[in-house]
């Protein structure tokens, strides 16, 4: 009778040990604890897949090149190429910067911008926050959109000049001085910049773009300025109109002087044109001469559209000839891909 008792106990012990072994087995088979949430991992994986394996593009040589930018804004930018080809033929020189406008909420079009860059032009995106106030943006209401936009810019991995809320000192846009506090505008700018940096979008040339102060002399610019740490270029917008200043010095001079009181960043004439008229050929020459004369002005962007007035270079044969002559100067234009 003792033998069965002796044999049962070890069996139980063995069974218990095997049970422990199985438990350890289950533990060993358990997957490792995820270090990131599945959703975040999926998002990151997607980003990694889309992110280029090319080395990062260092835009610093484009920030202060030896030659001047010759930019243009044409109809159909940035997708259409025919208007640009036509402009190039008329101007006698291919522009190396192409400005276009995008509404707040639009996605960043990597392929289109890549095509622009591959065509030899630095894309210059003017981001217009029609659908959100600066305060809302600064408060983080559109962070998801901004981050997605920044991710796309980062993965594009090529230079992009970006101007948020241009002509903010004027009263004609929703983000302008009539409807937006300067502090909110600056906060929104810094917030967007920080999110871009956080997402690793390094190839952005940040263009703070006020209108010339002549029509709005009571609006001080400095409160709108986010700070030198957040800005690469100061893109001044100013047009030679039939009723306004007639020289580079009088049109842009006061604005540049005021800005120099709070920033040492280089200028670019971010949007300009000469209204059709008798003075146009002479003012075109003055514009180019003014840009060429100042080392701290990186170039100009010609608004080649007929909107409210005829700003096109071929509004008259003399104007076209003047533009061709001025643009032919070696100071203007260079290969942005080999600055």
């Amino acid at each position: 009778m003792t033998t069965p008792r002796r044999s049962r106990r070890p069996r139980r012990l063995l069974l218990a040990l095997v049970g422990c072994l199985l438990a350890a087995t289950v533990g060993a088979c358990a997957p490792p604890a995820p270090q990131v949430s599945p959703a975040a991992a999926a998002q990151e994986d997607k980003q990694t897949q889309t992110q280029s394996t090319e080395p990062p593009y260092d835009i610093r040589p484009l920030l202060n090149p030896d030659h001047k930018y010759l930019g243009v804004a044409v109809n159909g930018s940035p997708r259409a190429t025919a208007p640009l080809t036509a402009f190039t033929e008329k101007a006698g020189k291919r522009p190396n910067l192409r400005e276009y406008y995008a509404k707040w909420g639009d996605p960043f079009q990597s392929e289109v911008n890549r095509a622009v860059w591959d065509h030899g032009q630095l894309p210059f995106l003017v981001w217009e926050p029609f659908s959100r106030t600066a305060a809302q943006i600064a408060a983080g209401q559109d962070d998801t959109y901004i981050r997605e936009f920044a991710d796309a810019v980062r993965d594009y991995n090529r230079p992009l000049a970006l101007s948020f809320g241009h002509e903010m000192n004027g009263g004609w846009y929703p983000w302008g001085s009539r409807k937006t506090k300067a502090a909110d505008f600056a906060r929104a700018w810094r917030h967007i910049h920080d999110l871009f940096t956080d997402e690793g979008a390094a190839d952005v040339i940040w263009v703070w773009s006020p209108n010339v102060i002549n029509p709005v002399p009571d609006v001080r610019l400095e409160p709108y300025y986010p700070g030198d740490a957040y800005v690469d270029w100061i893109g001044v917008v100013g047009y030679y109109t039939l009723s306004g200043p007639t020289s580079f010095r009088t049109l842009f001079g006061p604005t540049l002087t005021e800005i120099r009181r709070f920033s040492r960043k280089p200028f670019i004439v971010a949007e300009t044109g000469v209204e059709a008229g008798e003075r146009k050929p002479g003012e075109i020459a003055d514009l180019f001469a003014g840009v060429r004369a100042r080392d701290d002005v990186l170039g100009l962007i010609w608004f080649n559209l007929k909107k409210e007035a005829d700003w096109r270079i071929d509004s008259g044969p003399l104007s076209l000839a003047a533009f061709r002559k001025a643009a032919a100067d070696d100071s203007f234009g260079f290969d942005v891909r080999k600055p």
């Binding site: 033998t3 002796r6 044999s7 070890p10 012990l13 063995l14 040990l17 095997v18 422990c20 072994l21 350890a24 087995t25 533990g27 060993a28 088979c29 358990a30 490792p32 604890a33 995820p34 270090q35 990131v36 975040a40 991992a41 990151e44 994986d45 980003q47 990694t48 992110q51 394996t53 080395p55 990062p56 593009y57 260092d58 835009i59 610093r60 040589p61 920030l63 202060n64 980062r154 920080d194 940096t197 690793g200 390094a202 190839d203 700070g227 030198d228 740490a229």
Partner: protein
């Protein structure tokens, strides 16, 4: 009833051997083999035979059958009780060695399938080794202060690895580790064979060879493989010389001391070596002599270590990296869970082997085989020492609340627990491989776990190829660089730059332009504000030291701009490196 076949001294120290709990037959010891075939048939008839008990089924299968003389008077020779022998033989030895060779090939394949660029520790030890080599061969001044924070003597493994790296590159340095780990497996087999038998030795080698820590350390150019190899060599010497003159056991002392010098944390396992020496000697020599041997080994090892410490002055490094290591914040539950994942199954099998071994010391299915069966207390002590050693590193890391290198340190303990894991596997298989499915089940489980875990751990750091390519245009012999995990670019770009040009995000001694000497966060902030560095590389996925402080300064700096990012993916997710450079510059 019991008969000892070994030449046991007059005062056998072993416990009283246990009778087989249920032998199922009454056994009469056979005469020597020569008598089975060298005597006349009538004499053969008087040979001892088994008398089976009628009630036992086992007895029926194990009885010796002796044919009675036929009526014609012809008598068959008696048949030996088994067609094979439990004793050592050259055939058994070569078969075992062939199986071991197969295991070593599997281990090699498991290690070499892991592919990644240099981990920061590998890079650190290699470039430090090159610096030490330059110092030793050409008198080049050392600046790294490696002896103040390395967790092993910088003049040992780093120099050896750097010498190999000079000729064969990183692959060569990692091949050195592979050779060490293959040596560990071979020594484990040899040790376990001596402690138990060949089958347990092969099973132990198998369990060890396919573990994640073994595969990982076999392709990882750090101290670990060499230190573990030296510990394994010391353990084998202790077991091998248990029956020899005590002075031979002392051969283990310099090897153990060298293991500690190679990696200071190896000291954790020196007591195990001493206890193993005492236990193995106790079985052969008795308690007083065994204790004397243990004391001798401990004193010799300690004397060598003290002498080395005195000569080298590495005490502060040992304190900062080993004995007084910084306490982490990893929860105990996570450490325990990872311990269970990385070594739990093997240790569980070792525990099973220990319990089974304590219950029955019999290591062969040969009928009547007793060998020099040690007593139950000795068996329990051996199991406790070996399996308990597997818990030392996890216990210490639990104490420190850190998981740093835990997946490697698990491997140290596993080496000592593996012999009993081998016993456990043999016991699960049963005599005559009756239940091979257990070994297959465990083998598949351990192998799949080992492979997947080793792969995950080997890809816990990013492939640095893209980063190095991105950095190369900015690196020259005059720049000043700051980086998280700066060791990797220093090693990878060693021809273009010197480690003296690089600063980690942990410490800085910065003198401002106005002459103020600053350290820590203030030093980093001032260096960023004054654009001291020509390039800063931050790892968003693994910020180290004052990385966050540096980045905060950069984001709001007019002196630096983000010039690019390099994405990477590891086994744990994706992130990116950030490259910051002074404004206005350019490649």
């Amino acid at each position: 009833m019991e008969q000892h076949t070994t030449t046991t001294p007059p005062e056998p120290p072993v416990d009283v051997p246990e009778p087989d709990p249920d032998p199922g037959y009454e056994f009469h010891p056979p005469a020597r083999e020569e008598s089975w075939f060298g005597k006349a048939p009538d004499v053969t008839m008087q040979l001892p035979v088994a008398h089976p008990k009628a009630r036992s089924r086992v007895a029926e299968t194990m009885q010796l059958r002796v044919l009675r003389a036929t009526s014609s008077g012809y008598t068959l020779r008696p048949v030996p009780d088994s067609g094979w022998s439990a004793a050592a033989s050259s055939r058994r030895m070569w078969v075992s060695r062939l199986v071991l060779l197969g295991l070593l090939l599997v281990q090699t394949a498991l290690s070499l399938r892991l592919q990644n660029t240099a981990f920061e520790d590998e890079a650190l030890y290699l470039f430090a080794g090159h610096a030490e080599l330059g110092h030793l061969l050409h008198g080049t001044k050392l600046y790294g202060g490696f002896d103040s924070y390395f967790s092993g003597a910088p003049v040992l493994y780093p120099v050896l690895a750097a010498a190999v790296d000079s000729v064969f590159g990183l692959a060569g340095a990692r091949a050195l580790s592979l050779a060490c780990m293959l040596g560990c497996t071979s020594l484990l087999y040899a040790m376990t064979r001596r402690l138990f038998n060949e089958r347990a030795g092969l099973c132990a080698a198998g369990v060890f060879a396919i573990a994640q820590s073994t595969a990982f350390m076999g392709n990882f150019a750090t101290y670990d493989a060499l230190a573990l190899f030296l510990l394994a060599l010391a353990a084998w010497i202790v077991v091998r010389t248990a029956g020899s003159h005590p002075l031979l056991t002392l051969l283990a002392a310099p090897v153990a001391a060298l293991a500690v010098a190679v990696k200071y944390a190896s000291a954790l396992y020196v007591p195990t070596l001493v206890l193993l020496g005492v236990l193995t000697a106790y079985q052969r020599r008795g308690l007083p002599r065994a204790l004397a041997r243990g004391v001798l080994l401990a004193v010799a090892t300690a004397a060598l270590l003290v002498a080395g410490l005195y000569a080298s002055g590495y005490l502060s490094a040992i304190q900062s990296t080993t004995t007084a290591r910084a306490v982490g914040t990893t929860p105990a539950s996570q450490i325990l869970r990872d311990c269970a994942r990385w070594g739990g199954l093997a240790v569980a099998v070792a525990c099973l082997g220990t319990v089974s071994y304590v219950r029955s010391g019999r290591m062969s299915e040969m009928p009547g085989w007793r060998g020099a069966l040690p007593g139950a207390r000795w068996r329990a002590a051996l199991g406790l020492v070996l399996v308990g050693t597997a818990l030392l590193a996890p216990a210490y890391q639990l104490h420190l609340h850190t998981e740093v290198s835990l997946h490697k340190h698990i491997g140290y303990g596993l080496f000592f627990a593996a012999p009993l894991a081998g016993v456990g596997v043999t016991r699960l298989m049963g005599p005559h491989f009756k239940y091979p499915q257990w070994a297959i089940f465990l083998g598949v489980l351990l192998l799949s776990n080992g492979m997947s875990q080793a792969y995950a751990n080997y890809h816990a750091w990013p492939d640095s190829s893209s980063l190095v390519s991105a950095l190369r245009p900015y690196i020259d012999a005059h720049g000043r660089y700051l980086a998280d995990t700066y060791e990797v670019p220093v090693y990878e770009l060693g021809r273009d730059t010197s480690y003296r040009q690089w600063n980690s995000t942990y410490t800085i001694d910065y003198t401002t332009r106005s002459g103020h000497h600053l350290t820590g966060a203030a030093g980093f902030r001032a260096a960023v504000a004054e654009r001291h560095f020509t390039l800063i590389v931050l790892d968003r996925g693994n910020p180290t030291g004052q990385s966050t402080t540096v980045r905060d300064g950069l984001v709001h700096s007019t002196g630096y701009r983000l010039i690019g990012t390099v994405p990477y993916a590891t086994a744990w997710g994706t992130s990116r490196f950030e490259l910051w450079a002074p404004q206005g510059g350019g490649s």
